[in-house]
Structure formats: structure tokens, C-alpha cells
């Protein structure tokens, strides 16, 4: 249970970090809090020759408004979001989600960018970010690009990131003053990965509503019918219409048998949470 041999470096600047990652190609990994990569190193599921520690790069440690967008540095920790150290544009959704991630000792080191890069579909941020229609800013030594989180995730633990590239910011649109959200999670114990997770966001001023289901082994599923229904009826729609939309979405997401009962309950809880 010890990592394979590796070298570690902690560059002082982002450009130095990107140059180091570029030089080592697919033998290098960026590490921030190491709360996903650390276990994978110990289990030797990954064996990078070079680790590049980006966790103390000042530019990645803060959050700033850019017009109507909050740009959260990739190395802001879950605990900092839980405590409200960085600004919140989500009317309380972000701190609420943060508090339910793993355990405080993990949240003290784990970062939002690291969680995105790891892309575990049962983790909280991925599903939440897709429900928020958030984007990521990625940098490499030859430039930067922006991509929606929904497009960034290609599958379980599989993303659109390329060698030498790191996430520098998570870009969150500001919710309107009458926006509401709902969040429901089922896990076998507090802090465990979700068996089922649903996040609903309704923002009438932007004519936006989105409900996303997170689960094990499959990428988060956007629930299109329910999202459409909530866009048209920002106040909770009639119960039978809601149920009909959920059933159609669960068919689309190919959720059957025992799991279906669990996911239906979690999605309906998140949708009901909207009225609170």
C-alpha cells in the first residue's frame, strides 16, 4: 500500500508547472490535495514518474467575480467552500454540497479542481456542476481553453483533459435572486460516495432549469424531460406531471430494476426540495 517510486516537485509559478508537465508528457500527473490521487497512488492504480504539486499556486487558490461568473480557483478546498471562505453565487448550494463531501479531514485537502479532474461519477461536484451548467478553464503550456463540465466528462473517471493540461478555474454562473435548488443523496454512511445523487436547479430569471442524476460507474445523466417541465413550470409542477417526466428520464438513462426505486426516490426528493 505504498506508491511506486516517483519524483515530486512543487513549482513556484503556473507557467513553470505547465512547462514541467509538458516536459514529462504522460509520465507526469498534477497533484493538488491528493484526496483522490493519493489513494490511487497507494493502491498503485496509477504510477506516474513525476508529480507536479499545484496546490499552493496563489492564482489557483482564490475565487473572483468575472462579470456574472464566479471563477473559483481549482485549488480551493471543499472545506473552504463549506466555510464560505470564497464567495457564493449559488444561494447556498455550494456550501451545502461541500459539507456532504467525504469527511472534514478529506475536505481540508481535497480541491474542487481535483475532484473535477478525477471525475468519479458518484462524487458530488461533478453532478452539481453539470446541474449549474458550469464550465472549466484549462491551461497547458501552449494556451488555454474553456469547456462545459457536461462536455468535459466522457465517462466514469474519464475526461477531455489532455497530457500537460490542468484545470485552473471552475466557472459558475450566478443564480438569479429567485433561483432555487434541490439536492438529495443516498450513501451507505455519512461521507461515503453516493449510491444515488440528484441536483436540481431552477433559475426563472434566466429561463433555466436543470436536474442531473449522479450514480456509480456511469457519467451523470441530464434528466431532460424533468428539466423541460421545470423550465416551463418554475413553481413545482403537478405531482402526476412530475412523476411522468421522471419515469421518461429514468427510461432514457436506462435505469432499471432495484436501482430504479432508489434513483426515483432521490430525484423526486431533489425536485421536492425546490419548493423549500
Amino acid at each position: 500500500m505504498k506508491p511506486a517510486e516517483l519524483s515530486y516537485t512543487r513549482p513556484a509559478t503556473l507557467s513553470e508547472a505547465l512547462a514541467t508537465l509538458h516536459r514529462h508528457g504522460d509520465e507526469a500527473r498534477a497533484i493538488a490535495g491528493g484526496q483522490s490521487l493519493g489513494p490511487m497512488l497507494n493502491l498503485r492504480l496509477v504510477q506516474p514518474k513525476q508529480l507536479v504539486d499545484i496546490s499552493r499556486l496563489e492564482g489557483l487558490r482564490k475565487a473572483a467575480m468575472e462579470g456574472g461568473i464566479l471563477a473559483i480557483g481549482a485549488c480551493v478546498t471543499h472545506a473552504e467552500i463549506e466555510d464560505g471562505v470564497s464567495a457564493d453565487v449559488t444561494r447556498g448550494l455550494m456550501p451545502h454540497v461541500a459539507r456532504g463531501i467525504a469527511y472534514r479531514a478529506v475536505r481540508n485537502r481535497g480541491t474542487i479542481g481535483g475532484s473535477m479532474a478525477h471525475a468519479d461519477p458518484a462524487a458530488d461536484w461533478l453532478t452539481t456542476m453539470i446541474a449549474m451548467d458550469a464550465a472549466l478553464r484549462l491551461s497547458r503550456s501552449d494556451g488555454s481553453r474553456q469547456i462545459k463540465v457536461a462536455d468535459f466528462v466522457r465517462g466514469a473517471l474519464h475526461t477531455a483533459i489532455s497530457d500537460g493540461e490542468i484545470i485552473t478555474q471552475v466557472l459558475l454562473p450566478r443564480l438569479g435572486s429567485d433561483a432555487r435548488w434541490g439536492y438529495a443523496k443516498y450513501a451507505k454512511k455519512p461521507g461515503d460516495f453516493a449510491q444515488s445523487l440528484a441536483v436540481a436547479v431552477v433559475d426563472p430569471k434566466r429561463n433555466f432549469a436543470r436536474v442531473v442524476l449522479g450514480r456509480r460507474a456511469e457519467p451523470p445523466a441530464l434528466l431532460r424531460e424533468l428539466s423541460r417541465l421545470l423550465t416551463a413550470n418554475p413553481r413545482p409542477p403537478p405531482q402526476d406531471a412530475l412523476r411522468q417526466a421522471v419515469e421518461a428520464d429514468l427510461n432514457d438513462a436506462k435505469v432499471y430494476a432495484n436501482d430504479r426505486t432508489m434513483h426515483r426516490a432521490i430525484v423526486e426528493r431533489a425536485a421536492r426540495g425546490l419548493s423549500a
Binding site: L41, A79, R104
Partner: protein, 157 residues
Amino acid sequence: MTTITIRLNGQPVTRTIDDRLSLADLVRDHCLLTGTHIGCEHGVCGACTLMLDGKPVRSCITLAVAAHGAEVRTVEGYDGDALMAAIRKAFNLRHALQCGFCTSGMLATAYDMLSRIPDLDRDRIRAELGGNLCRCTGYLSIIAAIEDVHAERAAKS
């Protein structure tokens, strides 16, 4: 190999170590402080929890090199600390440990929640303890011990 310096329980410590060494192995094998226990070694059980710059972290999935320049406090580092003395006394009175393997991690987690959360109650204690496993199943007495300390502190303030 990399040479690092940390402050360990208030004392500067310099060691030359393999880059892949965990912080848990640094304090146990290189500094001979064996009060930090290693259980699952992948961040699940909480036995190795210690304080890094005043915050609880999992030392089995924290690289020692990444702690260069930081303040590390292990279970051996609480001499004269009133809060930790109160927690230990409550653990003793409530019989909140049996084999003791999880205890140093439990103490770190208890210390953190008692100093960070002013409105601690039974449900919150249970949730905060979710990341520390005890296989003697002493959870009820551990929760009771933490409740006692919180009640004492609330009565004083």
C-alpha cells in the same frame, strides 16, 4: 530523495526522504512517533488523522514532501493543552476506547469538531465522526465522551 523541514509538535525536524513517503510513515518510521496509526492506507478509516497546519488530515494519503514548511501535530504533541486534556479525561471516564487503534485519529477529529463547531449536537457529532472507523464498536461511548466535553465547555462560556 528530497530534504524537507517541518515543525513537528513544536520542534523543527529535517529529514532526507523518498518522495513517495507518506506523512504517516515520516512521523512513525523517521521520527519514531508511533502514536499515529496506519489502518487502511487509502484514506477511508481515519486512524492516521493528524493535524497539518492546525487542520485534521489523512496522513496516509498526504505525501511527506508536500508537508515541507508546514506545522505537524501528532497525538504526542498535546502536552499542556487544556482541550485535549478534557477530551482524554472524557474518553477515559466514558470508556471510549478498547484496543486503542483508532484512538489517536478519534482524538484529532474530536479536537477539531470541538474547536470548530459552536452548536455541536449529537447528530452533528455522529456525522463528523463518520470518517473514523472503530472496530471495537465503541461509537456510542466515543460520542458520549465528545458530548460531555462540549457540554462542559458550553457551561463554562
